[in-house]
Symmetry: C2
Subunit: 389 residues, 2 copies
Amino acid sequence: MLTFYVSEYRKRLQRAKESMELQGIDVLLITDPANMNYLTGFDAWSFYVHQLLIVIADEDEPIWVGRGIDASAAAITTWLSRDNIIPYPDDYVQSALKHPMDFVADIIRYKGRESRVIGAEYDAYYFTAKNYIQLTKQLPDATFIDGTNLVNWIRIVKSETEIKLIERAATIVSETMVKGIERIQAGVRECDVVADIMHKQISGTDEFGGDYPSIVPLLPSGEKTSACHLTWTDETYKEGDPVILELAGCYNRYHSPLARTVVIGEPTQEMAELADVVIEGIEEALDVVKPGVTCEEVEAAWQKSIKKRGFQKESRIGYSTGLNYPPDWGEHTASLRPGDQTVLEENMVFHMIPGIWFDTYGVEISETFRVTKTGIEVLANVDRKLFIK
Amino acid sequence: MLTFYVSEYRKRLQRAKESMELQGIDVLLITDPANMNYLTGFDAWSFYVHQLLIVIADEDEPIWVGRGIDASAAAITTWLSRDNIIPYPDDYVQSALKHPMDFVADIIRYKGRESRVIGAEYDAYYFTAKNYIQLTKQLPDATFIDGTNLVNWIRIVKSETEIKLIERAATIVSETMVKGIERIQAGVRECDVVADIMHKQISGTDEFGGDYPSIVPLLPSGEKTSACHLTWTDETYKEGDPVILELAGCYNRYHSPLARTVVIGEPTQEMAELADVVIEGIEEALDVVKPGVTCEEVEAAWQKSIKKRGFQKESRIGYSTGLNYPPDWGEHTASLRPGDQTVLEENMVFHMIPGIWFDTYGVEISETFRVTKTGIEVLANVDRKLFIK
């Protein structure tokens, strides 16, 4: 079931240990499901209960800790030996009496690491305040420090194998976007368009099937296009409605997101102009991308472009993407925004999504791109325009 | 856009304030997206960034705090007045420099509550350790206490309107399950079956469309049926494969989950026997359900039933369900398991899923039920048997 050779997982683990050493961390607790997958291959919808990896600097393998009934998923999907898959009993699950972090503390004590420096992903999904409170209470002699994004920063440069998976995801999203746009028309229910979109996301192509994206399709329509993270309803589309489609293809947990905007009938002049501004801005921002350029320089090119047309936008225009689990396909590391001095390197992958929203409408047109040796590869292949139906 | 009358939201808020008073909480911070929705109607896929409600005991309305670009979603989907929708600037988003809880602390100070008792959902999804650390640092004069599940316990008894939404979800899951079972056969790719399942989940019926369930369809097959939370692959089914289907219908964020097991071809004798044991166990457990009975008594009926056939199972056999967001459709309150003395009341809704898994196979057959005045209403309508294809 492994997606990568064990040697690739081991290389990632080695890099994580190097970062741990730099930050003075002896034991790293990893709850971000994408980081758990990245280091071990672990892949199951079990992140709704507490689970984590314990990475001990001077031990060969990480330890998987999770619910009893998920241990077989760990055995099937990871390269870990059975000794390093340690399930907790079911009475720890969503209980007011026992907490899984007590069990984790026991393991750390058993391993003799209860007085060491323990790093944890303080701001990661699924590492709750209760996890922190319980661990610090159970291990009073340990020194706890914040290890948020330690593994995420390793994920930012993709291997050739990872790029191949993202390219498959891009094939899926291109075909899905075309299908979604085709299906949108007055009188059709929003939910029926989304059903077709999801069908395509999952059935994928004849050659390979799709995985579930970390975010469901976001399809606000009409005035709701002012609110980019609304999902859909069972209302029918009306003549004149604008519709935003933001969705991803996903293959083996790797994503390629994409957004387009459609108008059913004639767009207003404002809307058509806004789309032109966004497209020109994207093109001018993509033009500056190459290794050595910083994230904030890419954003500055966008800002400069839209400014000459009299627009401005305050939110970031993109972020690193790739391997992920709900609720986000962004990697929480580099963002395309002022102040982010991350230097672009070959095989970084970003979703550039410079949407502009006003009180009663908005436009989103985006591209996911890979940084190449000399510039850029745009991953999906869908016309970059305002679609008129 | 509101799913319920404002009076229903206000009644829920009133009950939350009564619980706050009992627990001595002056200010309650709510990050669980289901609880945010329950009190205000808020519904958007924005929980991948920090957002919360601030419920102040002696103020009329809760305050929504979230990312700038999500404020319009709050305006569209909630009953809150614009003054109580407070967006934070975009440079707080996934930044190592600024944290949204600093912004929240500013609001609490502005409201003059910085020395009060502040409750937070310590073990809820999306209330990270960093949230806790940052809030306690910024508000050193406040007393922080654990308010996990305070609102969840209010959610456990459903209103008549909520029951109607769950019944629609049940209609969707019944039709979806039948379709999924129909589609499974040797030579078909797992992803193509899941694509059809998701299509049906979202398109719903002619009368009403579906919402996204909080968990994607879980369809382990073959030996992977030993691992209940695996999703799917693009491999084809083979003659003799068992397949577990665990999925939900969802309508306006309300769920009705259901599981069935299929065998392609002849089941092994062990498998057929295991299915009989599970079905008999479910029936005997459902038989004891009525108001006044405790959760552990329901589980005991199951345990007694399977014991006479020589089986045992250590994980809980069910949990309260209803309104939810990824990653879980369980409510994290009452569980059907030993020690849980929650007394059943009319209009509680549980998913009873007493799966049994061995090293190389497993069986899951489940029902979601509503507690009625005198007994039980099983919500879905799908034959309770091992399906043979």
